[in-house]
């Protein structure tokens, strides 16, 4: 009797699973990403994906596919040397789906799919996007894709120009397209070879500017990009855009300054360089922690204090609905605002003269704490499975969670359990803050006459 019931039970289980996953948009997102990652892993494990025609072990393929889809950039194999052109295109496709797909989904979430979102709030967001109605959604998705492709095309051309000096035009174009997509999507994959990342271009001002520009623009998120593109029409920015722009700028400048100070006399990193070069390298390093993942310096040679500081920058990450990860610049702004309010003895968190709802502050604090918990848990697990210095482990865990892709060299030495942990961290780091934020929906606020309430997107 029991045997007969078995198929029915399985069907029922599958039905239940399908129902569970389609019950809410975040679940659909989780399922969709998982599906793409597994498909990518299957393709990357095929002999056709490697130059040598070897079959990659499934765990390594899964690691690479997760790293690409979650636009992280931690790599077990040298992307340029190991993978065939087919392999490269699979990786690029995964990056593109992971980058633009997530960007679109996050924007959609912010606009309409969030539960308990008020009509007023929705209208504010739509207004800031110049979207007249909910029917404009398809237009919105097309807009996201258009912006991304436009910026990637510009990036590809600029890169190709530079690469054509070093290599034949065909190859330069190939490298141009690959790096533009990888860098704009903050994916951190590169074809430089020997895991050297962009260290070859450390003193190339042109390459530095193009790369920093792509990382920064990709890390702003669609809402900010739309606001920037439409600036001339409106002559003013939304609070969200103002916060993203100012916090990003502050993080980059302060980050570069502290890296510069900490490393100024370190001859193993930037100490031997001229002053201008020191500044350039510090800036690039600061920008790449936003979630870029390419680097022009060997991070292992940095001082411990700098490495720890980079960990904190990586944890903060890029902006909501962007190609970058971390707890997000807006969340960080709310935290700073909350601390300032506390010090001044004020109850309200005020950004740009707009008060934030208590619920948003609570959400920011909760998301941050949850993310810290995940990174610490990942670090604890890794410190039992890996035999490496603690800071190296903490760096790797934070880099994976923040989908940054910088590494102090642990990636290549990972054990099986370590690889699984990093895969988990990359996945939850990419999807966690967003889904968590929308799980913690805003609650109706109390009516009090204070500053006008401002809206900001967190996570």
């Amino acid at each position: 009797m029991h045997d007969l019931e078995y198929p029915y039970e399985v069907t029922s289980l599958i039905k239940k699973a399908v129902r569970w996953f389609s019950a809410s948009p975040p679940r659909t997102l989780l399922l969709g990403f998982s599906f793409i990652i597994f498909l990518g892993a299957l393709l990357l494990s095929l002999p056709i994906s490697s130059v040598s025609g070897q079959t990659m072990s499934f765990i390594d393929a899964l690691f690479t596919s997760t790293s690409a889809t979650c636009v992280t950039g931690l790599v077990l194999f040298d992307t340029g040397a190991y993978f065939s052109t087919f392999g490269h295109w699979v990786i690029l496709l995964l990056i593109q789906i992971g980058g633009i797909g997530f960007m679109t989904m996050a924007t959609l979430f912010a606009l309409i799919l969030r539960r308990r979102i008020s009509l007023k709030e929705r209208l504010i967001l739509q207004e800031s996007l110049n979207q007249g109605s909910i029917e404009g959604l398809v237009r919105l998705v097309r807009k996201v894709i258009f912006y991304a492709l436009a910026l990637e095309t510009v990036g590809a051309i600029l890169y190709t120009i530079r690469f054509s000096i070093d290599m034949p035009l065909g190859r330069a174009m190939y490298h141009g397209v690959f790096h533009s997509i990888s860098i704009f999507n903050n994916a951190g994959f590169d074809l430089s070879g020997d895991f050297t990342s962009f260290s070859k271009y450390s003193s190339d001002l042109y390459m530095n500017i193009v790369s920093m520009g792509l990382i920064i623009l990709g890390g702003f998120g669609f809402i900010v990009l739309a606001d920037l593109f439409d600036w001339k029409k409106k002559w003013k920015f939304s609070l969200h855009t103002k916060v993203v722009l100012s916090v990003s700028a502050a993080l980059i400048v302060v980050g570069a300054l502290i890296i510069l100070i900490f490393e100024f006399t370190n001859s193993r990193s930037i100490g031997e360089e001229g002053f201008g070069q020191k500044v350039l390298m510090s800036f690039f390093q600061s920008v790449t922690t936003r979630s870029g993942g390419v680097t022009t310096v060997d991070i292992t040679e940095f001082r411990q204090a700098t490495q720890f500081f980079i960990i904190i920058l990586m944890f903060i990450g890029a902006s909501p609905g962007s190609t970058g990860g971390g707890i997000k610049t807006t969340t960080f702004a709310v935290l700073v605002g909350a601390v300032l309010a506390m010090i001044r003895g004020k109850e309200d968190v005020v950004l740009f003269r707009l008060r934030l709802a208590q619920e948003r502050v609570y959400k920011a604090v909760t998301v941050t704490l949850f993310c810290i918990g995940i990174v610490l848990l990942g670090t604890l697990v890794l410190s039992t499975t890996e035999d490496a210095a603690f800071l190296k482990i903490l760096f790797e865990a934070t880099s994976a969670f923040g989908t940054v892709g910088l590494s102090m060299g642990l990636t290549g030495d990972l054990t099986l359990a370590g690889k699984l942990t990093i895969i988990f961290l990359m996945f939850i780091g990419r999807l966690g803050p967003l889904t968590l934020t929308y799980a913690l929906g805003p609650k109706p606020g109390r009516v009090l006459y204070r500053h006008a309430e401002g809206k900001i997107i967190i996570g």
Copy 2:
């Protein structure tokens, strides 16, 4: 003219300072503690305080005085060998003032001094303390001191019995009193010599039980002690007591279990011992992270994963209004409750069938995040000033902030800037969470028909 105004300006400045500090109880607490610490430092720097008749440098005396007053237990000098009997009594007095004084103040805060506390809330707390009226405050303070002295006396007798086997009765009593006060107040100072802490007694069941008992009872906090002592009168515990007891028990058991598993095969720590001994040492180590600071094992010999796990335990710490530090067991309970609520998709955090006000949850999350921020900042500063492994630095910073007093050996090597940083961490670790919690006063809740609301003290 300007010269004539000078004395007036100074007087006005002092007046302003006095007004500022007396404006709120937390400020009075900060000022009082600072005063005691400086006075203690002056006394400890005198030649009479040392066996050799040397004058201690003020920074070292300040470090020792802060460590004693903030009941931390990080020491630069071997307490037994360096300090004279006079020095020991100064340290004991600082510990006693720091321990009981803080306990009283924290309880008073919880009872009456907190601004915006509702009458109902106050009555609930008073009820749980069997305090009939606000006039019962003097009785309350006497009760706190009575409980502390009673438990310390019992501890002193139990210790003296054991020490009298090893040394003459007079010396045994001296050691008995010193260690009872130090251990009950979770101060972590010991007279064992050579920085060996209690490793000599690692297999002494009697010493283990007495010490663990004192650490645990001291770490419960006065409200729980009062509830426990009055148990027979009421036959039920307050929510606060239930949470403290269950979380403390869970942390100790789970902590011991994980330490046991992580260290089971580590021959440099507990790996060579018999099973019973392994369990005993794991339990002691788990208990001492509540804030005790004495240890029966050399922590530097632990595996990295265990050391990191101990850092997390130290950060959680003991219970509110106790002799221990950290973010507190109740705060941790609220965090766990919040995560569970989130996973279950529930809006309310429920502990023992009582719902917590959203404001309390917000407070717990904020306090935790603030504390993480302080520890990370301290770690960042230390990693620029100290030349040591990162984990060692993180361990020291967390131990100082959690007023635990365990060390991986950095204390003795600290630079001047390092000492100042640790002093700051001990001070803010002892007073920060409490004052922060009362700065973040509860706001009037919305009226909704849900679970009955439960009260719990955080920080």
